[in-house]
Amino acid sequence: MNGLKKLLGILWMLLGPVIIAFLLMQAMDKIAASAEGVARTNTTLQWSIIILIFIPICAGLVIFGYYAWKGEYEHLPESSADL
């Protein structure tokens, strides 16, 4: 299980930037569509908010992945003294 925890850590580290890249591409695509009159609504503000919120969360996912890869979750604290 500890091997899996470490291996998945790499996945979480990669997932963070991938999510942000995906959101940025979606935002550019949809905002351009609304500018050309293809989309039903203008969503520039909404996409800006979404991206702004998810950047720190994805950074947290990368840190979580890094901790997992470094083996920080191999043994979880069993009392507050361990924290």
Partner: protein, 511 residues
Amino acid sequence: MHSTDKNVTQSITQVIAASSLGTLIEWYDFYIFGSLAVIIGQQLFPSDAGASALINTLAIFAAGFIVRPFGALVFGRLGDLIGRKYTFLLTLVLMGGSTFLIGLIPSYSSIGYAAPILVLILRLVQGLALGGEYGGAATYVAEHAPVGRRGFFTSWIQTTATLGLFLSLGVIVLTKNIIGADKFADWGWRIPFLLSILLVGVSVYIRMKMHESPVFSKLKAEGKISSNPLKESFQKKANFKMVLLALFGATMGQGVIWYTGQFYAQSFLENTCRLDFNESRYILLWAILFATPFFVVFGTWSDKVGRKWIMLAGMLLGVVFYRPIYQYFIDATNVKEFEKTELKSATAPIVERGLVKDTKDSIITTTSFKTLQSGMTFKESNVIIIPDDVLAPMPEPQTIIKDVTLPRSTYITIIVLVFFQVLLVTMVYGPIAAFLVELFPTQIRYTSMSLPYHIGNGVFGGLVPFIATLVASFSGSTPLSGLWYPIGIAALSFVIGAVYIDNKGDKNVMD
């Protein structure tokens, strides 16, 4: 029962009652906005804004969720510094005051864009207050609860979010039925907001009589209070890694399950399936009524078998069953298809003629009320726009279905399916307060547990109606496309929780 045990039970019952009432009212305040999103959108934005008005209103609604983590930081820090009691007293007053003021904001037609801006500011205050409230209430109850029964006692606090939603829906439906739909859309929607001040007054009075948490008082007496809870929570790696684990392995998935089952379901039935205003709310009310006791069932069960697998099972069931459930909602309310073979009667069409706002184009609306053989009824409007410029191309006529009411068997089936979604909510949410409380030490508990809880619920969960509606508005999308957001997040949280979370946990909250 031994007399000491009896006293402990009596004491904790009072603690739970006093804490829960205030928390319930805060949830009520927070949710009336979401339950009235369509009407508020019409009041706050220009009347021809269409889908943008709903999306912008949902954005204001979502803004309240987004700031919840900041409220968690500000008030969590206060709670760890000055105590639980006074902190959540302050959050209650802020929440009640801002809700009352939303009820007084003039509409767009009176003050223009100042209306949505003022509501946005008040909504942000609501979000900050709620960010501080929940962690305090959960911590307060958990620190009073005996060992081995923490899941049971904190599960009562967990019922308050759902009961707050229930209360908000109940007050809205009751007000609308008493004063009528037209008056309600005009000014009656303000009543549920204004009513809040009375509820908050009662709750503040009760909370003033409460004592400080015994665990916090002991820590204070020993001079062991944290001098900088924020620094200890997030700069100390050993604690910060647990904050991240709580967020990605539990609260993130829990948040999307909560808001899909209890918000998106109703929003989908009203806006996509075109169900009647009351019908969609009654369905949710019945589902919540039957499912609410299960918060206590799963909270109690988690004391025996651990918190982890109950919460993760709720997430997994959501991942598997959301799409079939929502597909059924679409199929069962597809009146355009049923109309072809099952039309029983239709009223004589009512024809209205007018001009499209701010143009010289003519608009002709033909409305008819139809009944199908199954007993299903609905309002069908055909809208034709005739351009003023005779050379301009004629737009396609549009058919708009509204106010669908369901036959009894379909109505009951949909209640059962929404009940199932709320049951998943009780699985993920019932044990989570005890899970979070046990994850962090007393000194920094309020701060540490509040942040992952409010990012999970406020950001991931609170954005479900907004992101799902946004995704469904893309060209080429289907009505089910919006579900990929909660399904993806719940699946990710399930994997992280299953691999990294320990089912044992730290049962000692006195340290």
